[in-house]
Symmetry: C2
Subunit: 306 residues, 2 copies
C-alpha cells in the first residue's frame, strides 16, 4: 500500500455548479463596489443604477468572461473589471429596452422594471450613466494600457450601432415583417451575439493579448453560443410561463415579432439549439481540457429552463 506522502495531489476541480455560484457571488460584490453608493448624490439616480444591475440575472456574460479568462490564467481583478463592464452594458440595454417607447415591459427578473419603479426620465438617465460607468470600470484599475485600450475598443464596437444597438434597431424595424431565417440570424448576431462575444473576448484579454488562432476559436465558440442563446430564449418564450421566466412570457408572439419558433417551428428549434451546442464544443477543441468551463457554459445556455 502506497505511503500517503507518495500520493499524487490532484488539483481540486470544483463541480460546475459550485464554480457558477462562486463567480456569481464574486461578481455581485464586484458590481456593487464598481457602482456609486446608494446614498451618494444624486441618490435617486444611483439607486436606479444599482437596482438595474444588482441582485438579479444569471450573469451569463460574467460567467463567459471568467471561463475565457481562466483559460489564460487571468487575474481575478482583471476578470472582474471586464465582466462588470460587459454586465453594465447588458443591464443598461435592458433598462432602455423595457421603456414604453421600446418593448414597454413592466416586469424584469420578477421585479418591476426600472421605469416602473423610478419613472421614465430616471430610467433613461440611469441607462445612460451605466454605459459611461462600464467604460470607466474598464479603463480604471491595474493592467497593460494597450490591452485595456483594446478592451475599450471591443466593448464600444460590440455595444454600438454595428453591435447591440444596431441589432435593436433591426429588431424594431422587423416587427410585423416576415423575416427569413438569415435575416433573423443577422439581427440576433448583433442584438445579443455581439455582447456575448465581447464577454468571451474581454475575459480572454484579461489574461493576455490573443493570437489570431485563439481569437478565431473563441469567435466561433461565441457565434455558436450567441445564436443558441437566442434560439433557447425563443423556445422558452413560447413554452414557459411568466412566473418561471420572471418576465412576461409569450410576449414575442403577442407583439407579432419573428422568432426561431415562428419561423422554424418548435421541434426544429430544439434540434438547432442542440446542433449549436455541439458547434460550440467543437470550436474550443484546440484548447483541450482547459476549456471545460466554456463547454459547461455552452451546455448551460442550451439546457437552461429560464
Amino acid at each position: 500500500m502506497a505511503d500517503a506522502s507518495e500520493a499524487v495531489v490532484q488539483p481540486l476541480v470544483q463541480p460546475f455548479s459550485v464554480w457558477v455560484a462562486a463567480v456569481q457571488a464574486a461578481m455581485e460584490q464586484a458590481l456593487s463596489s464598481f457602482l456609486p453608493a446608494d446614498a451618494s448624490a444624486p441618490a435617486v439616480l444611483h439607486q436606479a443604477m444599482r437596482y438595474a444591475v444588482l441582485d438579479g440575472g444569471k450573469r451569463v456574460r460574467p460567467l463567459l468572461a471568467f471561463a475565457a479568462g481562466e483559460l489564460f490564467a487571468a487575474g481575478q481583478q482583471q476578470m472582474q473589471r471586464a465582466a462588470a463592464a460587459v454586465e453594465m452594458i447588458h443591464a443598461y440595454s435592458l433598462v432602455h429596452d423595457d421603456m414604453p417607447c421600446m418593448d414597454d415591459d413592466a416586469l424584469r427578473r420578477g421585479k418591476p422594471t426600472v421605469h416602473v419603479k423610478f419613472g421614465q426620465a430616471t430610467a433613461l438617465l440611469a441607462g445612460d450613466a451605466l454605459q459611461a460607468q462600464a467604460f470607466l470600470v474598464l479603463a480604471e484599475g491595474a493592467g497593460d494600457a494597450s490591452c485595456k485600450l483594446a478592451m475599450v475598443r471591443l466593448l464600444a464596437q460590440a455595444s454600438g450601432s454595428i453591435g447591440m444597438c444596431g441589432g435593436q434597431a433591426i429588431d424594431l424595424a422587423s416587427v410585423g415583417l416576415n423575416l427569413s431565417r438569415q435575416q433573423l440570424e443577422q439581427m440576433h448576431r448583433l442584438k445579443t451575439g455581439a455582447l456575448l462575444r465581447a464577454a468571451v473576448l474581454l475575459g480572454a484579454l484579461s489574461g493576455k493579448l490573443l493570437t489570431v488562432a485563439e481569437e478565431q476559436a473563441l469567435d466561433r465558440f461565441a457565434a455558436a453560443i450567441g445564436l443558441a442563446f437566442q434560439v433557447v430564449d425563443d423556445i422558452l418564450d413560447a413554452t414557459a410561463d411568466s412566473a418561471t421566466l420572471g418576465k412576461t412570457a409569450g410576449k414575442d408572439a403577442a407583439d407579432n415579432k419573428p422568432t426561431y419558433v415562428s419561423i422554424l417551428g418548435l421541434n426544429a428549434s430544439l434540434v438547432l439549439a442542440e446542433q449549436l451546442r455541439q458547434d460550440a464544443h467543437a470550436a474550443i477543441l484546440p484548447f483541450g481540457d482547459k476549456a471545460h468551463r466554456l463547454r459547461e457554459l455552452a451546455d448551460l445556455i442550451v439546457q437552461r429552463k429560464t
Copy 2:
C-alpha cells in the same frame, strides 16, 4: 533700407473668426468620417445618429478642445478624435434630453428634434449608439496608449452619474423647487460644466500628459467658462426669441425651472457673466500669449447672442 532676406518673418496669426470657421469646417468633416455612413445597415439608425451630430451647433466643445490642444502643440488627428468624442457625447445628451419623458422639446438648432423626425425608439437607440461611438473614436487611432486611456477615464467620468447624467438627474429633481444659488451652481457644474471641462482637458491631453499645475490652471479656466456658459444660456432663454435661438425660448420659465435670471435677476446675471469671463482670463495667465484662443473663446461664450 534692409534687404528683403533680412526681414523677420512673423508667424501668421489667423483672426479669431477665421480660426473658428476653420475648426468648425475641419470638425464637420472629422465628425462625418467618424460616424457610420448613412447608407450602411442599419441605415435608419445611422441616419438618426448623423442627423443628431452633423450640420448644427456652434461646436463650442470642439473649439475648446482645439484651443487647449494648440496650447501644447497637439496633432490635428489627436485633437479631432478628442473633440469628436466630446461632441458625440454632447449630441447624444441633447437627443435624450429632448425626448418626451425628459424636456419634451420639438425644436433643436432650428430643426425638428431626433425623436420628432425618427420616432422615440430610434432616438433612444441613436443616443445610446452615439455614446458608444464616442468611446470608440477616442480609443481608436494613433497615440500613446496611457494617454488615450486617461482620456477614456476622463470622458467616462465627465459624462456619467457624477458628471453630465448626474447633473441632469439633479435638474429633473429640481423642477418647481426653490434652489439656492449654490444648489443651482452644483447642478450646472455637473450638467454642462463637466463636459466642457472634459473638452478642455481632452484637448490638452491630445498634446501631452499634463503637469499638476497645468491641469489646475485649465480646471479653473473650465470651471469659470462652464458656469458662464450656463448663466448666458439663462440670460438668452429669458431675453431672446425662438427664431434667434433655434430652440424654444422662455421654456425654463414656462417649465418652472430655476435659472440664474430667476434667482439673481437679469442685471446681476449679466454682472456675474462678465466676472466669470475675467476669472477665466486670470486662470490661464500662466500660459501667456499661447493661450489667446482660450481667452477669445471665453469672450465668445459670454458675448454670444445665441
